[in-house]
Symmetry: D2
Subunit: 167 residues, 4 copies
């Protein structure tokens, strides 16, 4: 993939323990495919589950994938990560996964994903969710929050659309 | 305060922008008082709002307060922080606020608090919430999550009780 | 120890693998004793070697010790750490050890200590060295650098003196 | 640039305040050119001075550049950074710059560079230096340390050679 000025980076967040034959795995895989088809770069935490599925989808469409890893070594990265960024920060690297995206797509997700959702809202990143956590603010602090999508295609087009003014 | 082996550290998380005359400010203040009365150490992010109110309450009861700051300097700390830990990590320090507590009490809170709730669940810290975010897992990943308390007294006694086996 | 406004925090940095019967261990132990005698708080990385020796010395003089740990758990801390701050950041926590001190004392030290020396110079912390790395700037960027001390007593008095205007 | 399995990443470290007409700027620029000519990816802190010069050289040879930024925003990156990784960690990101390289080349450098040299030695990264800090271990802890190069060409070939067994 040729890196051009003005390419977009989309961060995909979600749990690392997802069965390869699950609907969630396929959903993340389709998100990855759609990111690459729209010649955006995929950023993720670089591990298994949703991250692996999304990277795999992106690579099958000739995309570029970046994995921001919790470890100090690259070994933990899934096989579809092109650019490995080992941080040695453990779960503190979750903030970096969010910061590197012009928009964030949450697919399913466990508690680590919840930290990333919090960071996406904190840094005002466009945040699209599919089958993910439902967040109810106690007070009406935020009018906007997670934008719900019903398909991988919709999630990616919303992510690109919502981030257009931020880049 | 005399530091003894076996003291407990309770992390209080919540938003930094809370009116001093609000119910939330008083609630956090009462949480701080109760932490000190139970001779536990209060840990927080060291800034204003809920953090300030809790530190203030703890100090009025002769407690010890620790503020893990986002900045590289100590100047941003509220006036009731005894031990200032400047991290220079910005919001990435939220993970440290959670890790330093034997239990975590969330009072109200904005999006930064949501990252801390995620970290508390990730690291299996006992997590007590008062007037805070409602989190609905998409799947039944976790049977336990935020334990709801109705008063400052209840929140602190739950925090101490729940953390008793972890220390 | 009673925490008063205006107490000072002195960070002690040095290697974690030092023989307990070595001169270096005793030197760090004496540094810790002198920090406590001057009612300053000792901050360190919380592990073994120089960190353990310094904490041990401070505790034997009734001082207060803070250990900023690389791990997510408190278990790795040496037995003389009062306040354990687990960071989960690995060696990235070295920056925090330096930031939390009004001055920094380097005793001996391995390569991790070199990162802390770099951070102390970066953040303009008074930096006192005993038997530690010799740093030769390639260009005359800095007129000041590591202030050499010949004894634990001298190192601590220099640290307190040099940090007097920064607090 | 086409990302292939087995590409190498070389981290270039050095000060951010270097005159554009200085020998150091040209040296870093030549290092960047040589990294790209050897189809390795250039990793750096993404800012000015040595980082800018190296990225510029790499881009003029059609290389790929990664900038691991201290800020939460991408705005601070120099104009020759392809992939911007905003960390929001300030100088704590120095550890990440080192971890992302299969080898590290230090060109000149100020105190931040000293932290990166310490991290390179800590993580046993091949470390090549040109006109940079002289480090004298107090004890013979390490037989190896900074490998000195006399030219940009030599520095890059040493970096590739030394990292060949680590990948």
């Amino acid at each position: 993939m040729d890196i051009k000025k003005g390419y977009k980076k989309i961060s995909v967040i979600g749990g690392s323990r997802i069965a390869k034959d699950s609907m969630v795995y396929d959903l993340a895989y389709q998100v990855g495919k759609n990111i690459a088809r729209n010649s955006a770069i995929l950023v993720c935490g670089g591990l298994g589950g949703v991250m692996e599925a999304a990277c795999r989808g992106a690579k099958e469409e000739g995309g570029l994938t970046i994995g921001i890893l919790p470890s100090t070594e690259e070994g933990a990265a899934n096989s579809w990560v092109d650019i490995k960024i080992p941080t040695g920060l453990g779960y503190a690297r979750n903030m970096l996964v969010v910061l590197s995206g012009d928009a964030v797509i949450a697919v399913d997700g466990a508690t680590g994903t919840l930290t990333e959702i919090g960071y996406a809202l904190t840094f005002n990143k466009p945040l699209i969710g599919i089958n993910t956590w439902k967040i109810k603010p106690y007070r009406g602090i935020r009018t906007s929050g997670i934008i719900t999508a019903d398909s991988a295609e919709e999630a990616v087009s919303l992510a690109l659309e919502q981030s257009s003014d931020t880049t």
